[in-house]
């Protein structure tokens, strides 16, 4: 291959379908990083060119398009996927042809493919901190509402184990809705919540239906100060979709919020808005999608090739100053050391940070039993 030939990478994020809001922000984070890299001279002088397809939120299409990227476009590295079901459809393809996937999304753990770099949070980097915060500030009786697929089931199992470790801890309800749920689907759930009066609600509803849960909650006149909805996925983009007033007072746990006060974050956000405008709302998925392309570029500057066998040794253990802080790929499990944070949505559509990790937390994707009160993952208070 020529020294000046462009490097083509695959990009698989949905711009249509149930999950398009968040995946579009991940797509823009990816394209933003690619622009930055090219403007700074590319990778050893070679231009980075994204080959993008729209998998339309359908797991079947992710598989077909991943195969197309590998076989037709001869792509070695793919950036993509939000839902676990779509990642699981891409895995057989990349493992069969020995290609590399960068996956920029929090998920439920229990996976470690040698063909994936995971840059989103594992449960020990978001669920434990959220459970600790919610049970100590609001109480330990939880009502769970989720989309009907694997990530909510597993997240709810972890949350149940965590709240049960508190005196008086109890799961007082657990309901699932389809990914295309509407306002009407949540009305009976909200009525039940009003009746049961939990201390807080844990939402694992993802995608476009997220807004309807919060809208149904607001319409029922419930008060987030007394009984907030806690979530790992309702972040700035979802808040913008549902309206700032609807979201205000609800709680989220993620390694990245726009409100992080650091020079890297401020300049990344400013540069992004200058290029891409304000239609796309950056959140944790956007940030991981953004920094993972830079991780790839840095590694490839060292390896000189995007073939997985030479690229992977340069990725494992690699560090980077990301908007959330200095992150590192854990060489033992291909996941990323991240900074857990807790934020409460305010009326400006941002999250006011109330807890923040003092040092990065190592990913532990195979942790079955999480413990509350582990001081190694204790967050610093910002109040």
């Amino acid at each position: 291959m020529s020294e000046s030939e462009p490097i083509r990478v695959g990009v698989l994020f949905s711009q249509t379908g149930d999950i398009s809001l968040i995946e579009t922000s991940q797509l823009m984070g990816t394209l933003f990083a690619i622009e930055e890299i090219n403007e700074a001279g590319g990778i050893n002088g070679r231009e980075l060119v994204p080959i993008r397809y729209d998998p339309a939120s359908s797991p079947g299409l992710y598989r077909v398009l991943a195969e197309k990227l590998v076989l037709q476009d001869k792509i070695n590295v793919i950036f993509g996927c939000y839902k676990s079901s779509t990642r699981k459809s891409v895995i057989p393809v990349i493992e069969k042809w020995n290609r590399l996937l960068f996956y920029p999304t929090l998920y439920e753990g229990f996976e470690c493919s040698s063909n994936i770099i995971y840059t989103g949070a594992a449960p020990n980097q978001n669920s434990v901190q959220l459970a600790e915060f919610m049970t100590s500030n609001y109480g330990a009786r939880v009502y769970m509402v989720g989309s009907d697929y694997i990530y909510p089931y597993e997240s709810n199992r972890i949350m149940t184990d965590l709240v049960m470790q508190k005196p008086g801890g109890d799961k007082v309800g657990e309901r699932y809705v389809s990914l295309s749920a509407t306002l009407a689907d949540f009305s009976s759930i909200i009525a039940d919540i009003k009746n049961v009066q939990p201390d807080f609600i844990f939402s694992t509803v993802v995608g476009d239906s997220t807004q309807y849960l919060y809208k149904a909650y607001a319409e029922a006149g419930l008060n987030p100060r007394e009984m907030p909805i806690a979530s790992l996925t309702t972040l700035e983009a979802e808040v913008a979709q549902m309206g700032f007033d609807v979201a205000a007072g609800h709680v989220a746990s993620a390694p990245y919020f726009q409100s992080i006060d650091s020079p890297v974050n401020r300049s990344s956000l400013a540069n992004f808005r200058r290029r891409f405008g304000t239609d796309v709302v950056p959140s944790a998925g956007w940030e991981a999608a953004y920094f993972q392309v830079h991780l790839f570029a840095n590694a490839m500057r060292l390896s000189g090739s995007d073939a997985i066998d030479v690229l992977m040794p340069c990725l494992l253990g690699a560090q980077l100053d990301a908007p959330q802080g200095r992150i590192q790929i854990d060489p033992s499990n291909h996941h990323t050391c991240l900074y857990p944070r807790i934020g409460i949505a305010n009326t400006e559509g941002q999250f006011t940070l109330v807890r923040q990790a003092i040092r990065p937390v190592h990913p532990d994707p195979y942790l079955v039993t999480h413990s509350l009160g582990d001081w190694t993952i204790k967050l610093g208070s910002m109040e």
Partner: protein, 208 residues
């Protein structure tokens, strides 16, 4: 065996919660496959140690043992160590031909994984093999207890009939006598029954 403190309020099964305290011995050649196996066990959180060749006896500190089954080398005979407290055995095979499968059966393995080793699937195999192993051990123990109980009952019946025949006792009285003897000598009714049967055997030459 290592188990985490059991808390019935946690919804996750104990076999899964145990994974972090599980002691695993891996008998596998020091190659890429062996390395991947030990690495994935450590990611899961098990305390894994690897050796090659396999020990002639099962390590008594292990909860689970992985053994690479190779057609060209003699398998350790662990049958004697597999009674009572015995770890779950998971065979690692490179061939699926009858010779190798027969060796796996002879080993008494609870599960099999295939080489080249993939990280995906190991956790599930580990948990299921341990469940089978624990169930087998519980059943074996129950079976032994039932067998000895049954043998005891048979002896009591026989001793009763000896007393009824030689001492002209009714069934109830015969049993009563044996029970009183057991209480007085602080032994079980089954032991008294054995003593009566032995004595009758020794004394019966008169009648012969």
């Amino acid at each position: 065996m290592a188990t985490t403190r059991s808390d019935p309020r946690l919804i996750t099964p104990e076999l899964l919660r145990d994974l972090r305290t599980l002691r695993v011995t891996v008998f596998h050649p020091d190659d890429q496959d062996g390395e991947e196996l030990v690495q994935q066990l450590r990611r899961i959180g098990c305390q894994a140690q690897a050796f090659w060749p396999p020990f002639p006896t099962l390590p008594d500190t292990a909860d689970v043992v992985f053994l690479a089954v190779r057609p060209n080398m003699p398998m350790p005979d662990w049958t004697a160590c597999r009674e009572g407290h015995a770890p779950a055995i998971i065979a690692v095979v490179t061939y699926e031909n009858p010779t190798v499968v027969e060796a796996v059966l002879k080993l008494g393995a609870e599960s099999v994984i295939a080489s080249p080793i993939k990280a995906f699937g190991l956790l599930a195999t580990l948990v299921v093999a341990r469940q089978i192993n624990l169930n087998l051990r519980t059943l074996t123990k129950q079976n032994q207890r039932l067998e000895s109980k049954l043998a005891g009952l048979r002896r009591v019946e026989e001793a009763k009939s000896v007393l009824m025949r030689t001492k002209n006792m009714s069934e109830e009285v015969a049993y009563q006598v044996m029970r009183e003897q057991a209480m007085a000598k602080r032994v079980t009714v089954e032991q008294i029954a054995s003593a009566i049967i032995d004595a009758e055997g020794i004394l019966s030459f008169n009648k012969a």
